[in-house]
């Protein structure tokens, strides 16, 4: 399945400066590993050394948080949009 992964501003530097990347995947986990195998620098920003999604990064399929779906096992369908949303703190 072709799904679109939207890369947030802070991580674009590690993803070839692209706003979004299309990957082939059946689950969110597959989509993210496809992404990090393409862009190695992204990996440490998304995952801990143990391979867990970092707690200041949330992942959504369309508008749903995967923590409340089946996490990285969440199925994706053709045309779905995966959003990576890290916490940002700027305000000044």
């Amino acid at each position: 399945m072709a799904v679109k992964v939207i890369i947030p501003t802070p991580l674009r530097a590690y993803a070839g400066k692209q706003e979004s990347i299309e990957v082939q995947a059946a689950t969110v986990g597959e989509a993210l590993s496809g992404l990090t195998s393409k862009f190695g620098d992204l990996k440490k920003h998304l995952f801990t050394d143990e391979g867990k999604l970092r707690s200041f990064v949330n992942v959504y399929v369309n508008d749903e948080d995967i923590r409340y779906l089946q996490k990285d096992q969440t199925q994706v369908r053709e045309g779905d949009t995966i959003s990576i949303v890290p916490s940002i703190a700027g305000g000044s």
Binding site: P10, Y14, S55, S83, P86, I88, G90, G91
Partner: protein, 396 residues
């Protein structure tokens, strides 16, 4: 008998149950709109809103809340206005540079609307003072610029049961939502933990499109006004994402986490904690996470260059920073260093620099681990070079 007219006082806050003739005129564009009307305007007059931070987000927020007639506005900030603020902090003018932000902001807001009360706190919000400062307000608006204060504001709002109108920005992207509303999610439901220091650059390091805090802060103001008048659909349980470059708004669902340590079913945080420690840093400006890095001061570097020593200057900033000013060094941005390390000759003495010395400390740490032995970090970066060696180099 002439009908008795209300006495007009200098401060409208003295009579919160009605509007003076001047106030009716001032707020007439609200009053003629049924969604606000007299009822809504009186709610605004009776409302008490605390704005955390008088910076990029706080500027439009303060202006619109004051203009709308929010009866009591609290402002807390510890900083002074500087020249780099003026690109986006529209509360301040050039003549305010050097003044405490709080007094400059209060003067501006009082000039905009003398009918309202402005409370000023020239202070850092801390675990010691937060509950005491926030308890007198109905709504808190978070316009701070760092993770420790954001977690502090969140926890204090949850403990006090007050809504927290949240906005944050990065370069040309913003996030807005309403946390802490009874039954709704909080900041920790969304992000249980902050990123480790240094992973996410601040506005000072990463830059910010000047108009972005204007847009995000104005959305925060809009949400605040809606909560006060009780109209419309507030951003509770919804995270609004804004991308200024693509000019796109997106909305994600935000759920209350039953496992949340501060608002969940089994709470482990029941009072304010040490937020610097929680965020892994000591104080606001996180020092570089790498230590024991060999350093060279700008004066030492200048002396050695003048002496004709063979030093290789490595600039690890970004190309657009190089265009602002440079020391004619070899440019390899920090993010590209690992794959461009072959461009460097480990037999030569290398002095790495960036803007302030933080990124180049990481570069030196990396190079030492890669086997480079003669490598130094320029202490204080190009900013210190400008201060100590060559004032013609612009600071940014």
């Amino acid at each position: 008998m002439p009908t008795k007219t209300k006495t007009v006082t200098a401060s409208g806050a003295e009579n919160a149950a009605s509007l003076s003739k001047e106030e009716v005129l001032r707020y007439s564009r609200h009053l003629i709109m049924p969604e606000v009307g007299m009822e809504g305007q009186l709610k605004l007059k009776q409302a008490k809103v605390m704005c955390i931070g008088a910076g990029g987000l706080g500027a439009p927020l303060g202006l619109y809340l004051a203009a709308a007639g929010v009866g009591r506005i609290g402002l807390i900030d510890f900083d002074a206005v500087d020249f780099t603020n003026l690109q986006r902090q529209v509360l301040f003018g050039t003549s305010d540079v050097g003044q405490p932000k709080i007094s400059a902001a209060a003067d501006r807001l009082r000039n905009l609307n003398p009918e309202i009360q402005i409370d000023t706190f020239e202070a850092h919000l801390t675990s010691e003072n937060a509950l005491d400062i926030l308890k007198d307000y109905d709504i808190v608006v978070d316009g701070t610029d760092n993770f420790p204060t954001r977690y502090l504001v969140n926890d204090a709002c949850v403990l006090l049961g007050k809504p927290n109108v949240y906005g944050s920005i990065f370069r040309f992207e913003g996030q807005v939502t309403v946390f802490g509303y009874p039954g709704g999610p909080c900041y920790r439901c969304l992000y249980p933990e902050p990123p480790p220091p240094g992973l996410v650059p601040s506005c000072a390091e990463g830059g910010v499109l000047g108009v972005l805090p204007g847009i995000v802060g104005t959305i925060q103001a809009c949400e605040t006004l809606k909560l006060i008048i009780g109209k419309g659909e507030p951003l509770i349980g919804r995270l609004l994402l804004f991308d200024a470059l693509g000019m796109k708004f997106r909305e994600l669902k935000l759920r209350k986490n039953p496992e949340c340590p501060v608002c969940g079913e089994h709470r482990t945080i029941t009072k304010l904690i040490d937020y610097a420690e929680f965020c892994g840093i000591r104080g606001e400006e996180a020092p570089s996470t790498v230590t024991n890095i060999p350093e060279m001061t700008p004066t030492e570097l200048k002396t050695r260059l003048d002496r004709g020593d063979d030093l290789f200057i490595l600039d690890v900033r970004e190309p657009h920073e190089y265009q602002i000013c440079n020391l004619q060094g070899h440019l390899i941005p920090l993010g590209e260093l690992s794959r461009r390390v072959h461009e460097l000759d480990s037999s030569r003495e290398i002095v790495a620099h960036c803007r302030s010395g933080k990124r180049s400390a990481e570069a030196v740490d990396f190079l030492r681990k890669a086997g480079f032995r003669k490598v130094w970090n320029l202490k204080g970066g190009i900013l210190a070079w400008s201060d100590d060696v060559d004032p013609s180099v612009p600071k940014y």
